[in-house]
Structure formats: structure tokens, C-alpha cells
Symmetry: C2
Amino acid sequence: MVRSQAAAPLIDRMMTPADYSLSRPCPLGRISRFDYETTVAIVGFGAAGACAAIAAADAGARVMLFEAGSHSGGSIALEGGGGEIYLGGGGGSPQQRHAGFEDRTEDFHRYLLMAGGPDADEAKVRLYAGNALAHFDWLIAQGVEYTDAYVADHGLMPLNEECLGWTGSEEAWPFVQAARPAPRGHKPRHGGWNSGKYLMDVLTRQVHARGVDVRFGARALALIVDEDQRVHGLVVQADGKPCFVRASNGVILCTGGFIRNREMVQHHAPRLLRANRPIGALDDGSGIRLGMSVGASAIGMSEGFVTLPWYPPESLVRGILVNERGQRFINEDCYHGRVAQFILDQLGDRVWLLQDVETYAPGLLHESAGIGIAATCDSWEEVERKLDLPGGTLVATIDIYNRHAARGLDPLFHKTGRWLKPLDKPPFTVLDCSVDRAQYSAFTLGGLATLASGEVLTEDHEVIAGLFAAGRATCGLPRWGKGYSSGMSIADCTFFGRQAGQRAAT
Amino acid sequence: MVRSQAAAPLIDRMMTPADYSLSRPCPLGRISRFDYETTVAIVGFGAAGACAAIAAADAGARVMLFEAGSHSGGSIALEGGGGEIYLGGGGGSPQQRHAGFEDRTEDFHRYLLMAGGPDADEAKVRLYAGNALAHFDWLIAQGVEYTDAYVADHGLMPLNEECLGWTGSEEAWPFVQAARPAPRGHKPRHGGWNSGKYLMDVLTRQVHARGVDVRFGARALALIVDEDQRVHGLVVQADGKPCFVRASNGVILCTGGFIRNREMVQHHAPRLLRANRPIGALDDGSGIRLGMSVGASAIGMSEGFVTLPWYPPESLVRGILVNERGQRFINEDCYHGRVAQFILDQLGDRVWLLQDVETYAPGLLHESAGIGIAATCDSWEEVERKLDLPGGTLVATIDIYNRHAARGLDPLFHKTGRWLKPLDKPPFTVLDCSVDRAQYSAFTLGGLATLASGEVLTEDHEVIAGLFAAGRATCGLPRWGKGYSSGMSIADCTFFGRQAGQRAAT
């Protein structure tokens, strides 16, 4: 298989890792001997890598899995990682049906498509919408436990042993017009706030149980390609030395996004620089850079998930958000991630959440998110003055809002009736959600262009032989910050990780 | 130079152009014989390609220039292409000084940096700010003629033989706070509205005068690379057949942006899909795709220039723009390109320009831009009803605007005093600038990452040997839609085209 090339020098085995670059593939013809031979090589032991490994092993492949860190995990296992997966369709999961929701595949499909934004991937949406329940069964078969309990409150996610909750904008305009709403966030029974870690531990055990050859502390250095740009393996750093790995069927990149790579964020998604709390384990874009080095297309690179936990409790949703011109800018009953995108779109950093005495309650996560009380006043005129808003602006905004809310209407932003009430009972509480003060969390949504099978594409939509990717190293199911719903990334990582593993194995 | 590779088949000379792909480089080792040998090969005969060719030839290189079309031109020569170049600094061009503006390099530099947005290229800004006047002299030396006449009116650009005009947001907030304003758009004497074509004709003559070997109808098919990803030349389609071109010093990609490639726009800049009038000759992203095929990084891909000629006449700037919630959203004295970006950011498509009898005048380009009169009313209450705006919204907006404008203030958006007056003299005219009705023009600003020298970079900032790029195939001086000023793209194409030509030649 290794071509002899008289004129090309073979690679000096004493080369150091520093001689490699993620952006420069290593020519196959230069390699005289491989250190490892496997069928499938996977880079990154997060949720996508784990599911790819399980699926590839189950399809009969020899699998090696390389992880730069000292243990499995990835972003899913970070502190506070809820571990909920976004799923439904097929008439509903047992939890959805138990809670009285018949979730038709058609509605689930429509919601996912709308949530994907102007460049939604119809093929991935269709495959997932039709197979999400089977995928849920697969997760349960791996040993992930779920209860039947449903939480009707709009929170960030279920917090204890409950499973099912609202984690998107399903009931909010404009989504509610496109698809019949249903709660679709399914959180594992164990782990509470850190159930992502629990989910990952279950998957990790399954990887090991299948005899996958896992190497920790093994950083990818470069892809190995032939002159037709077919990928034959990769160079990894092990024990401080470059090792050559041949993967006869291909390499699967499961390395996460690039939120930890400030330069990449600046070049591709500078808007996310306004969010000051990156969510990501080792998300330095390494897999995306490896893919680009062999001509892969990276798409949707400017998009990201951004959020601020300004609710729960859900009573806060009955308040309104205004910018530094005293203007509202979004229906506040949208998912917090969508709301945060609109906050970032505002000209100027100042944004406030306004409450009256009937809607105000201390925010569950306000302290850790840096959301403080900016003022407590007896009239909106006083609030307007205290916030130094242009004269008359806030008072006009409140007047218009209250007048329509009294009739259960929001003709400006279409907030639904359930969340509308005039904000007219003093004292009024002003919460400071300013972009330069509160903690906005973010991760990236752009990445390698792939088929639903995980095969990586060039800009001209040609498959790069021997290269696969899954999870946030790709532009997947979630790819539009204004449509993101909690659990979509885990759905994407686990489901499309499996597709990539299976395809690479066969 | 051509390596013999026993195992690799040589390319069948009878292969058809369809066997190639811009996304797949052609291995050097497969080519048995080159059809052409040159020092520098340039792809694309627009402004960037012309300047690169002139500079490379002047530096003593043999130059071949390949153009897919049947004549030179590119986007600069399109109908309505004003041909103005954005320049200043050094105390001012003769035209600036003649009009009484001392334009310090420091101010020019600051404006360019701010206009570049959150990922401005400091190295390119510095180089251009310090050398723009010398570059202007170079253009004049090529035979481009300019008058001394200055147009003080804020229009789109000077229209007749005048040279100097305001083509940016120099006097508007927030730019005016960062840099002392000066008009910096310099339009050639000839050609009127189509002076871009005139400028291109002058440059074309200079290219031919230098004996550059120009091939028309010659479409690039693929780059030729060795296994170290060094670029050695390219495959072009000539007379329906692939031809192999060796360029000993390198290939310069001057192929323009990708606004004519709908799929690329959707994957990288879906926001621009809202603009329905693409500005671009053959801008199909071919050069960007060629660069990506050898591991080049493409950055800022979501950004574009968007505009709607809602002024001139400049009296219209004294009106206000509102969205479908009756809210203002921008200081209307900004450059039309910046204003259009904020229009696209609005939730919903409806946007109106509101005038009173003292500010209204028929728009010079309203008819061709699809801006129609939506209503003429005697009161703002009537306008609010006719536009079906939520009750009280527009009236409150007007009330706040007029109250502050009477005192020469705009505390909401910081429109400058010169453009402020209460809109209180009926009849009131409403002009429909809705995104789905008016004609929004757009071109892309993202492209290959390059050094100021034109050398193309990988995602890890390594130079790809033998590959250069300039103009809209790169992410250059202009890279932020909200900062774009007319003439910046021509500045970038001509100045950095020269840098690339010179570097490739030496």
C-alpha cells in the first residue's frame, strides 16, 4: 500500500511533534513504517467519539480511540452539563406520552428544520426525526436510565431525577406557528446538574467493554494522506513522540468545536467574543483544522450557541427585556438561548430585565451569572431616570406593553398570552443583564460539512475518502444560535457519532 | 522538477475538464508535460488581477493571466460601478487638501480599523493607511485621470466629473468619535456612473502594454501541488481541453467573491440571502474553493456588503427609518451600507422611511431600487393605522424623536445635529424599504486568509508556498458589512493586488 517514492525522503523517525501542524497533512509516501494498524481511528473521547467507537466496534471493526486529555469526557461532561437529549416524534417517547404529549414525527421534523435556520440540513433533520425514538432505546440499552417524570415549569432543564422538560422555543412565536409544541428535553435520572457526566460515564464503560483500544494523552498532530487526498490514518503524539497510525477504513474526527481557540473565534465568529464564558473542554478546533488541511469545507462558522440563565424561576418570563434605548426586542417567552442571541444583536451593551412585584422572584442562577439588581423603584418614570434612558422611551415602551398585555396581546413580539400581564404593580425591580457585566456562555456551532453518514465533504460536495466527523467538529443538526434548543448538541453528537462509526466500519 | 513516480499513473491527456474539481488539487507527480511555463500565473482579470499582473511584470516576471470570461472587467466594471477608491492619510490627497481637509494618516488608520470591525486586519490597515497616497499616484501614473472637484453633498458617490465625495460613515456616530472625518472616496474623471469600467479599461491597457500573456475563455480547473502542498501551477480549460500551466514562483488568485454561488452563500453567509440583487460578475467563489483545496483558511465568510440607495438626495437623511414595530434602529446619517445591515438585522421584513413635507424629495434611485410610496398622510396617527402598526408605537417613536430633535439631539442613536429636525410638517410621506419589496444589493466580504503580501495562509497561519491571492477572493481591508465604505473594495483590490504581484515576482 505504501508507495515507494524514490525522490521523496522518508520521514525521520526522530522528528518531534513540533514539526507537525494540524494544517499540513503528512504525505503517505513518506512513511516507512506504521506504529499502529487499525480499521477505524477516532480522535476525541467525548460523546460523539464514544458513540462512534461503540457503533464501529459493534459493526465488527477494530477501533482505536485517541484522546488528548487524561480521561474521557469532552464538553458533555463539564460541570453543569445537563446531559439532556432533544428527541421526540413517532407519536412521542414513553415520557412524552406519559405526560400527555403525542409528538408526531412531522411536528418534530418541522421544529428541527426551523431551529436549523436558513441553512438547516434537511437530510440530517429527516434521518434524526425519523429515528430519534430508536436512538433513545439505544441509549437506554447502553445503560442510561431515565424516569418517567415530567416538569411542566419552564426552566433550564429538569434538575433532579425528573426526565422530561421544555428546553426550547416550542411554545413561542414563531416556532409555535410551524409545529405543534411538545417538551423534548430528556434528562438522565442520575447526576442532577451534572447528568452529562453520568451519561458520558455510561458510554465510556460501553466503549471499554467492547475492547476498543483507547489511548489517553494522545494528541492528533496531522492527517496522513495520499496524493489523491484520500486519508489513510493520522499522526498522534504519544509519550512525547509522533506515532503513525494507519486506519484502513478511515479516521473519525470527534474533537468538538473551537470556542477555546480565541483566534479562530475572532476570524470566524467574532460576534461570540461578546460572550465571556466559553463552554468547552478542549474545544480548540483541532479536528476542524485537520479536516481543512485536506480540503474539507467548514460551514456555518459564524454561528454559536449563547446563553444567559435569566430564568428560572419561570415567573421572570412575565417580565420584559429592554435595551439602552428603552426598547423591547424579543418575545421573552423564547428559550433563553434565542433570547441571548437577540441581546447580542442590540447596539450597545446595556440590557435590563424589568419586573413588577407580582412577577419578580430571585433568579435561581442570577448570582453565578452576574445578574444583579440595578434598581428598585416605585414608578417607571423613576426607573427611566435611574437607568439614564432617553426621556420618555421606557415609559412609552411600558405603556404600550401594559395596554396590550391587559388584553392578553403582544402585537409587537407575539409573546403568548400565558406570559402576559401588565407590569403595573410597584415596586419595580430592574435586573442588569448587560453584555459587559453578566456572564454570557457560548460554544460554537460551525464546523466541517458532512453527509448524514458522517462522511466529510469538500466545498464542492465531494466526499473525502477515509475521513469522517461527528459532533461539534461538524456543522450538524444544531447550526443556528437563534434556533438552538438544549439537548440538540447531545442528540447530534450521539446519533451522528453512531452513523459515522457505522459507516466507517463498513 | 517533475518527480517520476513509478506507482502513480500519469494523467491521461485526454481527460476532460469535467474530470477536474476546484476542490481537488492535481498532484504534480502525475503531470508528464506542461503546456505552458511562466513565472507567475494569475487567475481572474478584474482590478486585482490587473494590478497583480502589472506589478509582477514591472518586477521582471513572466506573467500569464487567465480569465474565464471573454474580456477583462470583473465586478469593478459592472454597470453602475462607480470606480471610486477610498484613500487618504498623509495630510490628504491633492483633492482632499484642495477641499480643505487635512487627512492625517492617524485618522485614516483609525477609521479603517474601526470599519474593519471586530476582526480588522491591523497589518493590512497599517500598510494601506501609510501608502494610500503613493498608491493614488501609481494609479494616476497608469493613466487614470481625476479632477480636483469636491462634492459636499452626501450622495452615493460623485456622479459626473467630480472626484472627491463622502462615501462612508466618517461623520456619523460612532465613527466620528474615533477619527477626525474627511471625505475619502476618489472617483475617476471619466465614465460617470460607470467609471469603474473606465478605471478597468486603463488598467487593462497597462496589462497589455507590458506584454502579459493574457488568455481569455480560460477557466481554472484545479491547482497543481506537490505532496508538501506547495503550489506549482494550475490546470486551466482552454479550447475545451485541460492545459497544464507551471508557474515557477506561484499562482495568484484574483477571482472575486462568491455572491453568485447560491450554495456557498447559504452555507457561509445565509443572512445575505435576504438581499435579492447580487453584485458580482463571475463571483462564484472559484478562487476561494481552489485555495481551500490546498488547506487555505477562509475567514469572515459570513460577512457581506449590503445596500439600498434610499438616499440621495441627502434631504432624505433627515427622515427616520422604522421597523414593523414602529421602532427606530439606527442613526440614519450613517453610510447607506451600514444602514442596510441594520435593516437586515430587524425581526420581520417591513421597514419604512418616514419623511415630512420639508424633508421629502423624490429619491434619485428609488424607482430602480423598488422603493415605493406606501402612504401619504396628514398625521402620524394616520400613518400608524395605515401601516397597521401596533397601536401607539409609531406615535411614541415620533414624539420622542421630535421632542429631542427640536433641541438638536438624538439620545437614542446619536444622529448628528445637522440631520436632525422635528418631523412635524404634514403631509407625511412613507417610503417602503421592506426587505421583501425593495432591491437590496450585496456582495461577499469573506475569503482566503492572506498576509499583506498576498501570501495565502492555512488555518494555523502558515504560508502556503506558491499561492497568493488578492481582492474579494480574500478577506481583506473591507471585512465588516457595518463598516464598509464605498471605494474600500477597489482600494483593497488594486493596492493588495499590486503587493501580491510584486511578492510573487520576487
